[in-house]
Each structure stands twice: as C-alpha cells, then as structure tokens.
C-alpha cells in the first residue's frame, strides 16, 4: 500500500523548515542581542528559537488535498467501525443495568444507554460521516460526528471493558473539523492541517509508547513485563488455530514479548524520522497488528487507519489533482 509513495518526500519534509526559519531568525537575533547587551543570564533568544521549533514541528504546512483524502478515509472508516467493530452499542441498550459510566460519563450529564439513543446516534454518525467524507460542511458535519461518535464509544466502553485501539481515531474526529475547508482541488496547504495531522500521529505513537509505560507502571520495572507469561495467558484464552502450537514453545513467546516491548519503547522515533526509516517503522507496527490479528483476532484497525496521517497520500492522486506543489510559488507571486 505504501510502496508507491515517494520516500524522499514525506509529511514533515515539505514546508516545515519554512515555517520556522521564515519568522524566527530576525526576532531571535534582535532579542539575543538585547539580552546580551543587558548582561542577562537567561538567553531569551534561545527560548524563542525553541518555541519557534516547537511551533514549526507541531504545525507544519500540509496540503489541503491530503486533508481531503484523510477525511474521506476516516469518516468512511467510522461507518465500518460502528457497524462491524464497535457494534455493541445498540445491544448494550438492552442491558442498561450493566452500565458503569466511565469518568467522563460521571463528570458530564450524559444520557443513559437505550436502544433509541443508540439508533439516533447511529443515524447522525452515518449522515454526518457521509457528508464530511466528501469535504462538505467540514465543521458542522465534522463536529456533529465527533460528538456523536464520542458518545457512541462511551456507550460501547462503559460496560466493564475499555479497549485501547481508539485513541488516535477519537483524536482524529476531533481535530479534523478544526482544519475547516479543504478539498481535493484546493491549492496549497495550511499549518492548521499540519497541527491536526501531528495530533493524529502523536496519538498513534502514544498507543504504543503509552502501552510500554503502562507495563512499566503496572509491573514496577520497565522490562519486567517481557519475562512474564502474558502471551501464554492471551493464547490460552483466545488463540486462533494458527497460534495454538506456540503454547508448546513458551521461550518463543517470551522473545516475542521482548521484541514488542522494546519496539513500543522506541516507537516515538517514528515521529522524527523520514523516508525509508519512516516506512520501516510503519511496516513494523502494521505487521505487528497483522500478527496479533492472525494469532489473537485483535486487529487494532482504528489505529491502523490513522497511520495514513504519516504519509503524503496526495501523491497517489491522479495527475489532474496534483497541482499543490507546483502551484504554490505562483500564489506567492500573485
């Protein structure tokens, strides 16, 4: 799927330096000189530079066409999600006695689960997603979907079990509306798009890094988890036929645990690399999801779809849409 991308051009490379360098040197220098003259110890110029780098990293300018593609992918995926993955919300309406609201459900006056509520949310999510997927009414449709889908997930996960594959997708539905208008045919890009994509990327990576931290917190030492029997436990409970044989090789499972834990701790590197290393990182984690799906039936598709935020998907568009890069200078000239 990713092979057709040009590895030299990636998410961060496009215009990131331009944002930082264009505005930063003048202000920083002026400030630096000022503090040095005053003999101050804290170099506020350094702070400005750091601030400007932070801003440039969080808000690179990304093309609108990429936003349009991401919206189509995310909003259409939501339909698949509510009908095939988190499809327990309407059935949960039959068992309101077992509703144990999560913190957010106790903090906010959210409605109690019922079949009617679930069906209403379903209709709103379907209609809103179909509109938002086309790029129309990005804010109205986008925010409607975000709120309804969030409530949908709360109703799904407030019955004694919370899954962790939805972090990036929840963040995606909340940040995509903030970009505003973005069509496939729109020229140029914006830092608002860059911020939204960074938020999705960081959420994807935190899904791995956070799980490594959780293993550390829960077991008292960073690597204690890897020497346990968690995979044996998981395979006894829910292994597919493809995986049952491995229960006879616990040492193999322990190696698997070490590989997973180390990869999770190293996952933030993916946020800072480009080209082939980025593709390698993505391939590694996507393969990991494929393996857990084949062996345990755990797919993590809501996280997988969000990996799209790492790639210049607009380069896959047919030629007539591919104007963003060569048109930008023209706009400046105008």
């Amino acid at each position: 799927m990713t092979r057709r991308f040009d590895p030299e051009q990636d998410v961060a490379s496009g215009s990131e330096p331009a944002v930082g360098s264009a505005s930063e040197p003048l202000g920083a220098d002026a400030h630096g000189v000022a503090t040095r003259v005053a003999g101050g110890s804290a170099d506020s110029g350094t702070w400005r530079r750091v601030g400007s780098h932070v801003r440039a990293w969080w808000m690179p300018e990304l093309p609108f066409a990429r936003v349009a593609i991401m919206r189509a992918a995310i909003y259409l995926f939501l339909l698949y999600d509510i009908f095939y993955l988190r499809n327990d919300v309407i059935p949960h309406g039959h068992t309101p006695e077992l509703y144990e609201p999560l913190w957010i459900g106790r903090a906010l006056p959210l409605p109690e689960p019922s079949v009617g509520l679930a069906q209403t949310l379903q209709v709103l999510i379907v209609v809103g997603s179909l509109v938002a997927a086309t790029g129309r009414l990005p804010r109205l449709a986008g925010w409607t979907v975000a709120l309804c889908y969030f409530e949908w997930l709360i109703l799904s996960m407030s019955f004694g079990k919370v899954d962790h594959d939805h972090l990036a997708l929840v963040i995606a539905v909340f940040v995509l509306p903030t970009i505003g208008r973005a069509r496939l045919s729109d020229h140029g890009g914006s830092p608002a798009a860059g911020w939204a994509f960074r938020c999705i990327q960081v959420s994807v990576i935190f899904t791995y890094f956070g799980s490594a931290l959780a293993k550390w917190v829960r077991n008292g030492a960073p690597f204690a988890w890897a020497n346990g029997a968690v995979l044996s436990w998981a395979f006894i409970r829910r292994a597919t036929d493809l995986a049952r044989w491995s229960l006879d090789y616990p040492w193999l499972l322990r190696i698997g645990q070490w590989v997973m834990l180390i990869a999770e701790f190293l996952s933030p590197i993916v946020l800072f690399v480009k080209g082939k290393w980025l593709y390698f990182g993505a391939a590694f984690f996507l393969t990991f999801h494929l393996v857990t799906y084949l062996t345990l039936g755990i797919h993590f598709l809501p996280t997988v779809i969000c990996w799209l935020a790492f790639f210049p998907t607009e380069k896959l568009l047919p030629g007539r849409f591919r104007h963003t890069s060569d048109q930008q200078p023209v706009e400046h000239a105008a």
Binding site: H94, G160, D163, T178, G228, A229, I236, D248
Partner: protein, 166 residues
C-alpha cells in the same frame, strides 16, 4: 503566459481555504497539545482506563506469572428445548455483553447472581427467534502454568448460577 493564466485562475477562485493561523489559533492549538499530553501521562500513571480516551494503555500490560494460573470465564446455559450446558455467546451480536465485560464486572455478578437475568433478557430481546435460556451457569476454567507451559487439564469451577425468570 502559462503563469499569468494560472495566477488569474487562482485569483478568481471564489472561496479559498485559510492558509495562515492567527496568534490565537496557534495558542489554543499548542495549549490543547499540552493538556492532551498531560491527560495521557496522568491516565498512564494512575494506571486506570477510567479516563477514556486518555486512559492507561493497559491492555495486556499485566505480566503473568510463568508458574501461575490463567483464568477464563464464560457462561453456560440450559435452554427451553431441553439442551444443557450450551455456551452463551458473550459478544456484541450474541447478548450485547462481551466476555471481558462480564469479567470486568465479575464481582457484581458474584455478589448478585440475579444480574445474569439481564443477559438472558438481552438474548431474548436480540434473538427472540432462538432457543431461550432457562438456567445460567457462570463458569471459570483455571489453567495451571509451569515455567510457561500449560500443565494438565483446566480446573473448572461453578462461580454462580441463576434460574431465569420469564
């Protein structure tokens, strides 16, 4: 010439998306980043997934003892047509309640087995055409591990039972 033409087309576009961020637009975005990261770290350190979506990513985070036991909980049922020990589908499409959700609220089920009535009722609501349950048995299989190997057959325990009320 071509450049001129393009400039004109660009200029004539009726609605152009915004390409710059205001100072305020930058500020609230960076502010939300900080709040979000703090929330994620908070959920992780509290080791609680109560704070969804900013809860701890603690799925499969407990290291299990290589010489410990592994438990698996499930519900069996007798049915109206006289079948015995049928496995109750604890998933979204079967009863609406997943196995992990039953395990998550296991204490409640043990304290008050009448909660199982809810599962029988949900099954009747969702699948009125199927063979309905008359008696439910909350069961647990315990597998013994030795050095990571499963040894022997699982030990099965009846945790609670409930005569379904129509």
């Amino acid at each position: 010439m071509r450049t001129l033409l393009r400039v004109r087309i660009t200029a004539l576009r009726p609605a152009r998306p915004r390409t710059r961020l205001s100072r305020w637009g930058t500020a609230w975005r960076l502010g939300l980043v900080v709040v979000g990261l703090v929330a994620l770290v908070h959920g992780t350190l509290r080791d609680s997934d109560d704070f969804f979506p900013f809860g701890s990513m603690a799925q499969y985070a407990s290291a299990h003892d290589l010489n410990g036991t592994t438990r698996s909980t499930y519900i069996l049922a007798d049915t109206e047509s006289g079948e015995e020990d049928v496995r109750v589908p604890l998933n979204a499409t079967g009863t609406g309640i997943g196995r992990a959700e039953v395990e998550g609220q296991l204490g409640d089920f043990l304290d008050d087995p009448s909660l199982m009535q809810v599962i029988a009722d949900a099954y009747r609501d969702i699948h009125p055409e199927r063979d309905q349950y008359t008696h439910l048995y909350l069961m647990r299989d315990v597998y013994q591990l030795e050095d990571g190997y499963v040894v022997g057959e699982p030990e099965t325990t009846l945790l609670a039972e409930w005569e379904v009320v129509r």
